[in-house]
Structure formats: C-alpha cells, structure tokens
Symmetry: C2
Subunit: 257 residues, 2 copies
C-alpha cells in the first residue's frame, strides 16, 4: 500500500472550521486523505466556512473521524508525531519536517501514523506532547513565528509527500541538442547574419563569439536548435525575397522594444 494512505492528520481542539477546511485542501493537494479531529472545539458551529474552504477536498472533510480525546484519536497508531512551535527541555530532539519525513513514511509502511497539530491559540498541551513518540518543528523566520494551522498542515504534508516519491518533477521531453547540431546552428546563423547585413564577413568571427555565448546558454534542446535554425533560414529567405507585396505596413518588421 501507499504509505501516504497510512498518515492520519490529527487536529486537536481546533477552534475554527475554516482552518479545518483549509487543512483538508492542503492534505488533498499532498495525497493525504485521512483527517481526525480530537476534542474539536469549533466556535463557528455551522461549519459553513470549513465547507467553503475545503473546496473540492470536501470528501476529506466529510470522511473525517471525530474522537472525544487525544488518546482515542491516536490509540491505533504505531507512531505519534507531535508538532510544536516551542523549544525547551525535553523538546530538544524535535526535528525539521524535511528531516523527519523519511522516518514518518517508514513507520507508515508498518501501520497508521498520527501527525498531530494543536490548538490555534496554544498548540499541544504538555501532557499531549508527552504522549508523542516523535516531535517536529516547522522552520519559520525568528521575526514571525506564528504559523497558521492549515499552513502548518500544508508544509508537513508537503514534506511527507515530497519524500514519498509520489511527485515526479516535470522534465524536458526534447532531447539535448548534440554538439554537431549546435555547430550547424552557429554556421547557419553566421551565414544569415552576414547575408542580411548585421555584420561584415570581416567582423563575423568576433561577432559570432557573442552570438555563440548566448546560444550556448540558451539553446539546450533539439527543439530549441530547430527553432533557431528555422529563424536563420527565414532571415535568409526574407532578405532574398523581400517583404511579400500584400503585407500591411508595419507588419513585415517589428523592431525589438
């Protein structure tokens, strides 16, 4: 099974349904779908804000499990990861989410793992922290350490998702341009630029150094090379044949701005 399916996001004593809704959306973005509320203390009883903010992650919200206590919400979990903003004695072994994510996934391959977030106003209580098997602290700027509940859920879920390998980064589909193609490109541009009068044949060796420098950075794929070869071809063609007679004034030539 996918270890992400064994992650349980546990929100303890949450006050605002909007934060629950935003957390649902953040979870769904990161492939995590099991939400638990422990002793929820929602002040806006109608859940309207929460439903609005969950947007299309409403299944995460609807399928949430509710528990009367923290203990019950984590009872079946093989590990309980608490998030804390505070340091202090016995919290020195907290880890950053990036460092802890691989271990969380490893544990999640063995059974349900609770990742626990405290109240908006005072986080997890000491007696709740004492029940955690692991602690995690999200890195924030010392100038502004108060992080929103749903945003804390997002960063933690994002790190677990990124570590899970579920995300395949986009990659360039066009093959890298081989050196031979690049040399053809340089020669064709040299011909074209001389032909259209951008530079004299005498200047060309020097001027082409500048062009080559730009191409060597910019032309990386076969698609890139094919575009630039096409431009050189068209430069030559348009120079030799002139502007087609029915081209409106100003259309045939657009200066760079």
């Amino acid at each position: 099974m996918n270890p992400l399916d064994n992650i349980r996001i546990v929100l303890v004593g949450t006050l605002y349904s909007g934060n629950v809704g935003s957390a649902c959306r953040a979870m769904a973005n990161m492939g995590i779908r099991h939400l638990r509320l422990a002793a929820p203390n929602i002040q806006d009883k109608d859940w309207r804000e929460g439903e609005k903010l969950a947007v299309h992650a409403d299944d995460v919200l609807k399928n949430r499990e509710e528990f009367a206590t923290f203990e019950e919400a984590v009872e079946d979990c093989v590990a309980v990861v608490g998030t804390t903003a505070r340091g202090g004695l016995f919290r020195q072994h907290v880890k950053a989410p990036r460092d802890l994510a691989p271990e969380i996934l490893d544990l999640a391959s063995k059974g349900p793992v609770a990742v626990v977030f405290g109240r908006e106003d005072k986080g997890l209580l000491n007696e709740e922290v004492a029940q955690c098997t692991h602690l995690l602290r999200i890195p924030v700027d010392v100038g502004y350490t108060s992080i929103n509940l749903a945003q804390a859920v997002l960063i933690t879920a994002y790190e677990i998702f990124a570590a899970s390998g579920s995300y395949v980064p986009p990659h360039e589909k066009s093959a890298a341009a081989p050196q031979g193609l690049k040399m053809v490109l340089t020669r064709n541009w040299e011909t074209a630029l001389t032909d259209i009068g951008f530079m004299s044949e005498k200047e060309s060796e020097y001027m082409m150094q500048g062009v080559h420098r730009i191409f060597s950075r910019g032309v990386q794929t076969a698609d890139d090379a094919s575009i630039m070869l096409g431009i050189a071809r068209q430069m030559l063609w348009s120079h030799r044949h002139g502007v087609p007679p029915d081209t409106p004034a100003g259309e045939g030539y657009k200066p760079f701005q």
Copy 2:
C-alpha cells in the same frame, strides 16, 4: 544584504483579499516582506478579510506596492519567476521549487527577483508566462491539483527560506552519553532491578539483554543517562525505605497502563 530582502512576491489579478492576507502571513513566516499586487481585481472591496487573515503580518499588507500592470510590477527585477500549474509545450523546463530555490537566491543576491502568482481562477495568462525568465511548478498529487493561492505562496516561500540557510534546525544541547556512562547505567539498573525483585540474580544476565537493547536505543544523551541513573537510585531507596507513612493510598505506586 540578505537575499530574502530582494524577493518580491507578485500577485497578479488577485480576486480575494483573504488570499492576499494569508499570503502576507505565509511570507512573514518565511522571512519575505515585499509584496506587490499587479492589476489587483479584489472583489471584496473593503479588505476586511485580508486584514483579518494577515494577523500580525499586517506590515507586509500595509507596505504592499500596487501596479496597474504585470509589466510595471516586474520592470525593475533581474529575474521573473512565474508559477504555473499547467504543463504543455514551452513549459517543459519548469522546475520544482526545491530545485529552483538556490538559483532564485543566487539571482536575488544581484537584484530584485519577482516570484509571480496568477489569478485564483485561471493563473497566469500566456502573455504573462512569456515574460517570465523562469518557471516553477509546485508538486501536488495528481488526484487534487488545485492549490490555494496563499498555500502556493507558502510552499514557494518556504523552499526559498529553507534554501537560504536562514533556518537553523533545532539541535540537541545535551552531549552524547559516552560508553563509560552507559555501562555505569546498565550496572546500576541491574543492581536496582535485582534488589526490588524484578528479576533474580540468576535471570539477570538474560533479562539485562532486553533492558540494554531498550537503553541503547533510548538513552542517547548525558541528560538521558542522568535521568535513568536517578530512577535506579530512587528504586533502590524506595525499596529499602518503603513508602513514606503519610502517602495517601494509591499514590505510592502507579502501575503502568
């Protein structure tokens, strides 16, 4: 200067002030304080929601710069990083924020760098993407790709912040326990556990293997060792002296549950 001070978060055509407010908070968490709005299209004209959600990052909100167009908002920037959820031709070179963050910081050491986020409903337009020098796509689960604007800002800012080295992960302050101390610990526990009748002297060699296995994983620092040594000492003391006479019934002994 800190390159984070050269990051400009540019929100284009944003519709909801709440998203601007949440973005301010996410930025402040990650040490980024310069917000620009390009052609804002805020539907809730009074900014009440935005001010509420900015919480204590209201200086980021107040100091925002507003521009009539995308072009003006990025005019002074040495690089323009567009965020896009879509792939497609000419977007194959998009990078994940973790991969692009070091380059963003490198550019930000030379001048202002715009990191641009499009509209809630349709992102950046093609003509806006065409003006970007770099493109970035946030990794999300294929099952739910629609990410909230402020959460996209958060993840991008988080990756830039993490790559900037501004975050020093928490670290254990207590020194690692040396082997000699660990051996003293094992000996003292052996004495204590035999003394209180947990095991006979005959069983002790075998039983201590289990205890040692637990301690070798759990007792890692000098502080840990000192706590466990204290417990062994107290076990011996309490066994020899008994429960103090004024202890209420049930207080002297708490079975593990």
